[in-house]
Symmetry: C3
Subunit: 277 residues, 3 copies
Amino acid sequence: MNQKKMISLVNKIRETKPLIHNITNIVVANFTANGLLALGAKPVMASAPEEVNEITEISDALVLNLGTFNKVYLESMKIAGKAANNKGIPIVLDPVGVGASCFRTNSAQELLQYLHIQFIRGNAAEVANLIGHKWEIKGVETGNTDGDIVSLAILAAQKLKTTVIITGKNDIITDGNVVFQVQNGHPLLTKVTGAGCLLSAIVGAFAAVEKEPLEAAVSALVFYGVAAEMAAVKTAALGPGSFQIELINQLANLTGEQMDQYSLVLRREGDLSWVKQ
Amino acid sequence: MNQKKMISLVNKIRETKPLIHNITNIVVANFTANGLLALGAKPVMASAPEEVNEITEISDALVLNLGTFNKVYLESMKIAGKAANNKGIPIVLDPVGVGASCFRTNSAQELLQYLHIQFIRGNAAEVANLIGHKWEIKGVETGNTDGDIVSLAILAAQKLKTTVIITGKNDIITDGNVVFQVQNGHPLLTKVTGAGCLLSAIVGAFAAVEKEPLEAAVSALVFYGVAAEMAAVKTAALGPGSFQIELINQLANLTGEQMDQYSLVLRREGDLSWVKQ
Amino acid sequence: MNQKKMISLVNKIRETKPLIHNITNIVVANFTANGLLALGAKPVMASAPEEVNEITEISDALVLNLGTFNKVYLESMKIAGKAANNKGIPIVLDPVGVGASCFRTNSAQELLQYLHIQFIRGNAAEVANLIGHKWEIKGVETGNTDGDIVSLAILAAQKLKTTVIITGKNDIITDGNVVFQVQNGHPLLTKVTGAGCLLSAIVGAFAAVEKEPLEAAVSALVFYGVAAEMAAVKTAALGPGSFQIELINQLANLTGEQMDQYSLVLRREGDLSWVKQ
């Protein structure tokens, strides 16, 4: 991971203001849009099948979020996704709740077959269900990142030919070959609805300005994680309401230099040891 | 009302993290989810007819909110409600705006006929319209709780065979036989959109951990009312924006002991006098 | 512009609490409702074709927002709009993103042909696209308001027989004849999603209590702009999250007198000079 590049990506987002097309849900649409605006990107949330083709074509990244999914959204995601694939616009899939219903699992798998998706960002259970594994939630909350999660991420990335980001206590990012771990972040993120969804949108913003997927994904996770840490320093004693607002503030205020200073990125070597970047 | 039990319910929610399935509206979905997360419960907001059956089956309570209602939501609510009834999962109905349109009134009555609903939480006008009474809003804002509202609550509870919660300056809770009044709360709640909707969801969270409906409902109203009072102490001088955020903070921070200390619960006796609990 | 009237309109909203029917989108529905509540109006966001007729008929203004538009919303807007026209209830159209897709542009034009719309509130590009002009964004961010924007506003108002409000660095309000400029506001508004959408809803609230369109529109823009300035004084050093919350506080706290004190309204004279009101 090139540190100078990570810094430059933040500035590049703020200068070029990439347009991020989100087909997302009623729970997180507002928070996602405000988070993207704070970061310096521009959000658009159009979801009608009649227009998503044109909206995606003028966008710099497409984020597909299955939060409050239904048949119309599925249709729109396929149309928008095809437009993105045709124009070479990166797609991020957030498989919210996959595994909780057949409709959701089948729809996600249908999207993965129909589209070329560059990034998947979910928790371990969601990613496992995407590739047909039943996943017992375990290890996610422990101090060390469970080796099972790394194996799962690699397997999913290889099987789905995409960059997989599994978030939890520590975050794993892999293209199926190289594996990074990001240790930034804060437990209060689990107390804010849509914190993961906003992260997926921010991966889209970084992917809009950086073609190398691992660089884009790791940078997005470090940036978001450090912003959450900063917000927690200011608001952990107050509560999750204040944290949520301060997170938006930090997304606007955090510089690439601060992000670099506090980044906690490890890379897995050939002998399976983790080396600090 | 057993005070020790009230305290224990808060702890039980925080330990067991019940999953609350909300079929709700675009206005309050985010605020409801954040309020439930702050309290310690887990929200899920799936609404597609294709999947609500499975989502409800893994949930601990179902909350049906008519805010931005339409035909698809009606279908989903019937499917989810049947799944809840079959599994013995408690249902809370929030009849937002019933009386404002025939479609809304008829749909609510259809749900009440089709499903066995354990709790209804609304204002006096909404509850009156549910049972076909035209209700002139009066007395709700006066210092003493109008006897009409108590009569209305009892009548509705008996007619609909459910626990009725009518919120206003003071809140009335009845199963058609025993009547409680909760005097906690704060007028700033009327300045936050979805404050009532969130309360309905919190009733669901308490019902998820307590089978006795009056215990669950009264505890939920006291908890929410005291949290609002605490939030108002800190933010009333600032405004409703700050109050909204602080309410989320307080839902996370308030302990069962504090809730008990500030609770203002009355029970109506056989001679129609109110006795402090 | 009558200053005493401007002051009186704020008080009139707070006393009469007009009901504002918003057919709007998943991104801004919550923020819009909270903003209207803070101001002193009452929001209702019903959108189902089955009921919007009845909801509009009991409302004092109707606000049509194309944010996350689709075919069902188009149908609802036509039904609600006809009800408003029949009852003489003012309509505000917010043509969010018009020009970004054919569906959106065609739908907006269909609404304008089908309904008598009293106010259009958008940015220069959106208003230009409404009347079939391709608009290159330029001048909007410069210190002086570009003459092109004034010409565009006048042309649109004349062509569409409505009051046009183009917002940007400075805001232009015209009925096609008289032209006002409001210089209140703050750049942080561009960092909050739905800041423009909320303004459109607030124009609806002022139109609900004032029949003269220019009085209503200019008052709404001054009120909102001064509230934003006040909020920025308190929160600009913190970030857009805090600003968003403080804006809601200020909408509740700002008095008509303060609004008058800080108002920056210019009127264009016959010689095209601007005279401070």
